[in-house]
Amino acid sequence: MNITKTLDAKGLACPMPIVKTKKAIDAIKSGEVLEVVVTDKGALNDIPAWAKSGGHTVLEQKTEEDVLYFYIQKA
């Protein structure tokens, strides 16, 4: 997986992780991959739901010691 850009949203509370993820996605090209790193547990459901509503694909997500990683391919 080729990561185009990484967004560090650790320590941010809802809604900021999604607000920043949206901005970051707007700034990359279709097909490129954004890595999002968050600690807010709300992201677990919200990022996939947001991605789906915008047609983006979550290629992979994982949790390592309370830190969540998402890999989102822009539609």
């Binding site: 509370a13 809802c14 809604p15 900021m16 999604i18 607000v19 949206k22 547990k41 709300g42 459901n45 919200d46 739901a49 947001w50 509503s53």
Partner: protein
């Protein structure tokens, strides 16, 4: 326009007083479908906050201008964002302080009745989760039944009333919410009781709650009688208080009955459930007023916000008490059960004292409705 901040207590008042309210819930659709703020006259619009980041213009026509609008999210942050955007668009709205997290924690104490010789019985209604706790007070003393984990609410209430908490009971080992029982007992020096059959795995000391146990509360000697009533769990025990009230725990609710599967033993316990509901309860006086440990739907609330109904009326009206055929009863309570409560296995572990999560983790575990019943 001004953005108002409402507390869970203010929203609870609107539920109990059957007021109108328009709720704009900005959590994702799954979370909303699973669990929301229920009110008799509430209307809802569910649009996830992440669909509103670019603007709220599209939803403006869907929001009433002749009704109060409350924006709700999981913890508060997103509802503040959306409320401010609506305010900039010229709408007057409020957001819920602390979001669904604070809604889940809020307890409204309501007096159910006076008891003999100056005693009183209070019901603590946890609207967001459907949990009901009880405090029986009589001159100088109090007993608490099925306390939820917000122990301050109970200890402060006792202080206000000038009573000492002497006895704390759990009708069974809860699977849908974390009990505050033994923590209240530890903080006040009260005795903590739990049915021994539910307590085989607990790692703390407790006093056995067994059939026929009788406690007198305060100067007026209010009678608290334990009545073994298994079926939701093998240890489930009811209470008869002042010969007037029947506290049924999670065995019998107003519009439903307890489910026998939350400890993994539905097939084993279905006969106990049948026996309790169709024989043991049948022998009790029909004029006893049933006070359950949960409600499932808002229609179960009375005019004053309490959840209480005459036992005789439930024998007539509650579907779960009117399934004559035993096989049909068995199928009803073991097949097609609703999903289990969120994190119910972990919650049981917490209530056994085996794990000790921090406050945030406890809040996460208790997200969602209680789901202890079958209809």
């Amino acid at each position: 326009m001004t953005v108002y901040k409402w507390t869970a207590a203010e929203v609870a008042r609107k539920v109990i007083d059957k007021e109108e309210l328009f709720i704009l819930d900005v959590r994702n659709h799954d979370a909303f479908e699973d669990w929301k703020i229920e009110g008799h006259k509430f209307e809802y619009l569910n649009i996830p906050y992440f669909e509103l980041i670019d603007g709220v213009e599209e939803i403006l026509p869907k929001l009433p201008t002749d009704k109060e609008v409350l924006v709700v999210c999981a913890k508060e942050g997103s509802s503040v964002m959306v409320a401010e955007m609506l305010s900039e668009a010229g709408r007057e709205v409020a957001y819920l302080e602390g979001g669904m997290k604070s809604w889940s924690s809020y307890l409204e104490p309501i007096k159910v009745s006076d008891l003999e010789n100056g005693g009183e019985i209070y019901q603590f209604v946890r609207l967001g989760k459907g949990c009901l706790s009880y405090m029986v007070i009589s001159e100088g003393e109090a007993a608490i039944i099925d306390a939820v984990r917000f122990t301050d609410v109970f200890t402060n209430f006792a202080k206000e009333k000038g009573v000492e908490i002497k006895h704390v009971f759990d009708t069974h080992l809860h699977a849908d919410h974390i009990s505050g029982g033994r923590h209240i007992a530890a903080a006040t020096g009260a005795t903590y009781y739990l049915p021994p059959k539910d307590a085989t795995e607990v790692v703390f000391d407790y006093t056995p709650l067994t059939d026929g146990l009788n406690i007198k509360i305060g100067a007026s000697q209010i009678d608290v009688n334990a009545f073994y009533s298994p079926g939701h769990t093998i240890g489930s025990t009811s209470f008869i208080i002042d010969n007037q009230f029947l506290l049924t725990g999670d065995i019998l609710f107003i519009d439903s009955i307890g489910r026998p599967d939350l400890a993994g033993l539905a097939e084993d316990w279905v006969d106990d459930l049948r026996e309790t509901l169709y024989s043991r309860y049948r022998e009790l006086a029909e004029d006893l007023v049933v006070l359950p440990a949960h409600f499932m739907i808002i229609d179960e609330l009375n005019e004053d916000g309490t959840v209480a109904r005459r036992l005789g009326d439930l024998f007539k009206e509650n579907h779960g008490l009117n399934i004559e055929d035993e096989d049909e009863f068995r199928r009803t309570v073991t097949d097609h059960l609703p999903p289990q409560p969120n994190a119910y296995q972990q919650i049981r572990q917490v209530n056994m004292g085996k794990i000790t999560p921090d406050n945030d983790e406890q809040t996460e575990m208790e997200i969602g409705p209680n789901r202890c019943a079958v209809r």
